[in-house]
């Protein structure tokens, strides 16, 4: 009587992918704020220098300006990034969207996962405004830990099935995107201050970049001294650090492969092709080449490629209306897949 396992509904795959992306996004924003709060104690700067880059990283500086006007202050930035619901990337918005998506796939995820998303949502709903200064760091730490808890609960209570792989796809693509953005903005900011190279000032800044992605300790173990090229190598090309772009793309590509069942080194879908190309590029590029040709240009292209993968996933799985008809053994280069 037992039939084949049913593939996921396309709508469910889409929702679960976005649920994971939004939780990852909320966690990243909380971490950025936390690192900056720390940094300003070590290195007090004008708010425009201290906090504006966080807005720039999120890519909606225009909207922020429109919304608040006047000079950038810490309170405005934190309000905007954490609680403002007109900012669709604020922590509050991300958790709301994550919960909406979770609610629509509640039968697919485990009860424990739902309870955790719902509890994070309720927490930020009741918080709603800036915490007291002495509570500030803890508040954002709690959000981060809440997101980590969700990830842990997910891994421990849900079968690592197709839905789980769609979640991992979402989480890893979001993470790679955020790491590349923070690196881009910070590198751009730090590079002009070449006179500071080798000073404690430089050290603190690069440490902050690493801390922004929770990578300071792991970097230390591997490289010891802080050096810009090594930081880039670590954050982009590292194969073991879970927030390095290459690690993220490797994980995402494994999950995509688990979803499609396509053998390694082949592709049947557009998204698989793009993912494979990006993975190969990260595997076989050295940091020296990247820096020589310009990090900003490199990261820009990287983000475009990841956007392409995201679109590919939507075309390939989320809005599919007709059965896939490609053969298993189609080799790379012969075609771009059934939906192209």
């Amino acid at each position: 009587m037992r039939g084949e396992p049913l593939p996921l509904l396309s709508r469910v795959a889409d929702s679960i992918y976005w649920m994971a992306r939004y939780i990852e996004r909320a966690e990243n924003v909380a971490r950025f704020i936390g690192v900056n709060l720390n940094l300003q104690i070590d290195l007090p700067l004008a708010p425009s220098q201290q906090w504006q880059p966080l807005i720039d990283t999120s890519g909606d500086a225009e909207l922020f300006k429109e919304h608040f006007g006047g000079a950038t202050t810490q309170a405005k930035v934190i309000e905007w990034l954490a609680y403002d619901t007109t900012n669709l990337s604020s922590i509050a918005s991300c958790l709301r969207f994550a919960r909406e998506n979770a609610r629509s796939v509640r039968e697919t995820i485990s009860s424990e996962m739902w309870a955790q998303v719902n509890s994070m949502y309720l927490t930020i709903q009741t918080q709603r405004s800036l915490p007291e200064p002495e509570r500030m760091l803890d508040a954002f730490r709690e959000i981060r830990m809440g997101c980590h808890l969700f990830e842990g609960v997910t891994d421990a209570t849900m079968s690592h099935n197709e839905a789980w792989h769609f979640m991992r796809l979402g989480r890893m693509l979001e993470r790679a995107d955020k790491t590349s953005r923070i690196l881009d903005v910070k590198y751009f900011m730090l590079l002009p201050s070449i006179r500071d190279v080798g000073t404690p000032y430089d050290d603190i800044h690069w440490s902050a970049v690493l801390k922004s992605v929770s990578g300071f300790e792991m970097y230390r173990k591997k490289y010891g001294r802080i050096a810009p090229a090594d930081v880039v190598d670590f954050l982009v090309m590292d194969n073991e650090f879970p927030r390095a772009v290459r690690f993220c793309i490797k994980s995402a590509s494994e999950s995509l492969q688990a979803v499609t069942g396509t053998p390694i080194g082949a592709f049947r879908y557009r998204s698989e092709q793009l993912m494979g190309q990006l993975r190969a590029e990260l595997d076989f590029t050295s940091v020296d080449t990247v820096l020589r040709n310009g990090l900003h240009e490199y990261l820009d292209r990287l983000q475009l490629k990841m956007n392409g993968i995201d679109e590919g996933l939507r075309d390939d799985f989320a809005v599919r209306t007709t059965p896939a008809v490609a053969s298993q053994s189609q080799s790379q280069g012969s075609s771009t897949g059934p939906t192209a």
């Binding site: 039939g3 049913l6 509904l9 039968e107 697919t108 979803v259 059965p323």
Partner: protein
């Protein structure tokens, strides 16, 4: 907490007899409650409410844009049903559902009951949920009402009556299941020394029922899905809850497509065949090609696939013909006609306003009767005579005169009460009971149900949309063990 000062207020109380002495089956529970320290029951109650919010066990309130999700209020004091009474209820419901199913099948086929003069043809034809599109359809195994949620009430005479049958898309069973979990979590000590029958097998029985109705020719395990109108429906929590507990996909209309008279769902690997749909969408919205053309919730062509026997629907479209409140009055006759037996559980006496003598009686006695629109649910379109104003009665009299077919009237029922936590003390509140009846290869009733409670003092309206809450329902095992 003191229970000896409890006032039954002259109503039938499920826990205390006329002499205000605890009924035998409630004694242990009342002892436990009496032994609780000051404020302990309140604390348990607050813990339960917190859990409801944390778990997002909520319903969506229509026409309330501010807080669209709200927890369904839960009262910690359970309602107890003895083994003996439950045995009687179970037999009565099985008899009733069997007869109703035969009636529905008859209505859409030979109409023997009309030809034999038991029910007037115009009553059937004018029933709001009669669907001529369903004439001649043969659902698998002849079952039309797979899931029913009949409402039972106990009157001041101490007897239980069927108030409504709820054949179409009954809801609330998820709260029956969650209420028990909530009780076990927040108030575990009350189960001590009592043998309360479990309700936990409901999702498995429901899945069995759904799988039993697979279309002919399906040899593998049938693909069963639950069709929801979506996240903004008031019962969405229940839809996703049941899908999760049964391990079946929760689908929306846009996830399904009809091709070659078969139903398919859109998956990441293309279209996959669907065999059985537990639909939680009303007939009208099921298929724009057959019913309401403006429906965006349904699936075009679904009914033609159903008619062709390529997909099964639970409940069967058209079964609401027997949900009409005028038709309700004929159920005792149906039981006698199809089963050759007297009804085990009685109907509430019902006056049909289209009968001249009945209507005159109703119009003259509005202040003592409850008048209901024949086709409304959720406590809407209703006049509770003793609680009404002269202006309301006048308005209803005009409506009845204008459209007598659409109104019935019943005596105002006492509705029994159960002690309920109000502030820091127990007060009696009126309740009803909705057991759930499954009809697959056989008819099964899960020992329990949803006890709805009118939380407003003196209110007789238990609907969640109008200030109702719910209680856990304890069906006790018989002394000799569970007989059945």
């Amino acid at each position: 907490m003191r229970v000896d000062g409890y006032d039954t207020g002259g109503f039938y109380d499920e826990m205390f007899d006329e002499a205000r002495q605890p009924r035998a089956e409630a004694q242990l529970l009342l002892d436990t409650i009496s032994a609780l320290g000051e404020g302990q029951l309140e604390r348990c109650q607050q813990a339960a409410e917190r859990i409801l919010v944390q778990l997002g066990i909520t319903f969506n309130v229509y026409g309330d844009s501010a807080g669209t999700e709200r927890p369904f209020p839960f009262d910690l004091v359970p309602r107890i049903v003895t083994a003996r009474e439950w045995d009687w209820i179970e037999r009565g419901l099985k008899q009733r559902i069997h007869a109703l199913n035969q009636f529905i099948n008859d209505v859409y086929h030979d109409q023997k009951i009309i030809k034999d003069g038991i029910i007037p043809e115009e009553v059937v034809r004018s029933a709001a949920f009669y669907r001529p599109q369903c004439v001649g359809i043969n659902p698998p195994k002849g079952v039309w009402c797979h899931i029913t949620g009949s409402d039972l009430v106990r009157h001041s005479d101490g007897r239980i009556y069927v108030l409504e049958d709820n054949l179409r898309v009954p809801s609330g069973v998820s709260y029956m299941l969650e209420n028990r979990d909530l009780m076990k979590r927040t108030f575990p000590q009350v189960f001590e020394g009592l043998r309360v029958r479990t309700v936990a097998e409901y999702p498995s029985l429901l899945l069995d029922t759904l799988e039993s109705m697979a279309p002919a020719g399906v040899t593998t395990k049938p693909v069963v899905v639950l069709l929801t109108p979506g996240m903004y429906n008031s019962a969405y929590f229940e839809h996703s809850y049941l899908a999760q507990k049964m391990g079946i996909p929760l689908v929306e209309g846009r996830d399904l497509v009809v091709e070659d008279h078969a139903v398919w769902m859109r998956t990441t690997k293309g279209l996959r065949r669907v065999h059985v749909i537990y639909r939680r969408i009303d007939d009208d919205f099921l298929d724009p090609e057959t019913f309401r053309k403006d429906s965006l919730l349904g699936v075009p062509g679904l009914v033609s696939a159903y008619r062709a026997g390529k997909v099964s629907l639970a409940n069967a479209p058209g079964n609401g013909v027997a949900d009409d409140k005028v038709m309700y009055a004929y159920v005792p006759e149906m039981i006698r006609y199809y089963e050759g037996e007297d009804p085990i559980i009685d109907n509430v006496p019902t006056f049909l306003c289209w009968r001249d003598t009945d209507r005159q009686h109703v119009l003259q006695n509005l202040e003592t009767l409850v008048v209901k629109a024949a086709n409304e649910a959720g406590g809407y379109g209703m006049l509770v005579g003793p609680h009404s104003t002269a202006a309301e009665r006048e308005a209803f009299a005009a409506k009845i005169t204008a459209n007598p077919r659409n109104y019935i009237a019943q005596p105002t029922l006492g509705l029994s009460r159960v002690p309920t936590l109000v502030g820091n003390q127990l007060e009696g509140r009126h309740v009803d009971l909705r057991p759930y009846i499954l009809y697959g290869d056989e008819i099964r009733v899960v020992p329990g149900g949803l006890t709805r409670v009118a939380l407003r003092k003196g209110s007789l309206v238990v609907n969640s949309s109008q200030g109702g809450g719910s209680k856990d329902t304890w069906v006790l095992e018989s002394e000799a063990g569970n007989a059945g």
